[in-house]
């Protein structure tokens, strides 16, 4: 393995990046998006969420949005997070890595979709 080869992301980092892919969100919206995107298989609590957000901010994967919500519509204390270019590239690299694995799994006919296709 070369040192520059990207490493697989942790599930929490991957799901937070994925949740922010379609726009900026605050903490609870991220938690909801993570649950919906993973079809309820992966949930993230506030403790894990903010610990991970802290590290992702330090790694420049996400940034805090400078815009504050309208005080009549939302709580001013909320902070919104968005993907950085580095975060988007990292997410795309991880998705590409998974895609390559899935393609390989289909070739090897160990992917459920490929086996069901084979039986049809």
């Amino acid at each position: 393995m070369t040192p520059t080869e990207p490493q697989p992301l942790t599930p929490a980092v991957f799901h937070i990046l994925f949740a922010l892919a379609d726009g900026e969100k605050h903490g609870y919206r991220i938690m909801q998006a993570v649950k919906i995107n993973s079809r309820g298989e992966f949930t993230i609590g506030p403790g894990t969420l903010y610990g991970t957000i802290k590290r992702m901010l330090a790694d420049d994967l996400i940034s805090e949005s400078e815009e504050r919500p309208d005080p009549e519509l939302d709580d001013q204390r909320r902070r919104y997070y968005q993907l950085t270019d580095h975060g988007r590239n990292t997410l795309q690299a991880d998705l590409a890595r998974m895609d390559a694995l899935l393609q390989r799994a289909r070739v090897m006919q160990i992917h459920p979709a490929s086996s069901s296709k084979a039986t049809l």
Partner: protein, 206 residues
């Protein structure tokens, strides 16, 4: 617009607030308000726990989420504020303190003839082995030198200069604090005295 929380769930919030206070201060200053808001939203969206089993499930999921995160943040904070060299220096100081006490004990017992217990027997046991005695004896001579290294190595700057095609290795000491310099000088003095005693005794000079 702040999140409105139902009275039945309000009792959980103080518990959560208490758990949040267990985070390191810098983390709390940055994320406390957001965490409380996110938790209130999450609590409102979750079905109200009615039975004891459901309440237990909620409490366990809360603890499972928070405790690893609290431990992780404290470790992370500790790593970022405490340099390895500083930890090693603290260990070296503790070893030096123990070393000084044992030497004072030896001097008190064998030179000042004070009514003290035999330090060897007291520290190593009544029937201590030759190996244990050797290690203990060696430690009494080597501890100041190791402590000296613990204080000198962090301020040692290694430079390589190239002059006329020849590489020259240069070791330079950077400035260290007065207290650290004092400890380093004491360690150097103790090392020279102890090793000088061993050397001269081996040479049969006394």
């Amino acid at each position: 617009m702040s999140a409105i929380i139902s009275p039945t769930r309000r009792s959980v919030l103080p518990v959560y607030r208490t758990l949040v206070t267990w985070y390191p201060t810098p983390f709390r200053q940055r994320f406390e308000q957001e965490m409380l808001l996110a938790f209130q939203d999450w609590l409102n969206a979750e079905p109200t726990p009615r039975s004891k089993a459901q309440q237990l499930k909620l409490a366990s999921s809360l603890i499972a989420d928070m405790l690893p995160s609290i431990i992780h943040e404290h470790l992370s904070e500790w790593r970022s504020t405490m340099k390895v060299s500083s930890i090693i220096q603290k260990v070296a100081l503790a070893a030096l303190a123990a070393w000084a006490v044992i030497w004072a004990w030896f001097i008190g017992k064998w030179f000042l003839l004070l009514p003290l217990a035999d330090p060897n027997k007291w520290l190593l046991g009544e029937d201590y082995s030759h190996t244990a005695n050797s290690i203990f004896g060696a430690a009494l001579f080597i501890i100041p030198f190791l402590a000296l290294l613990a204080f000198v190595i962090p301020v040692l700057k290694i430079q390589t200069l190239t002059e006329n095609g020849d590489g020259v290795l240069m070791l330079r000491l950077q400035k260290m604090g007065k207290a650290q310099a004092l400890v380093a000088w004491v360690c150097l003095g103790a090392t020279v005295i102890l090793w000088g005693m061993v050397f001269t005794a081996r040479m049969g000079w006394w």
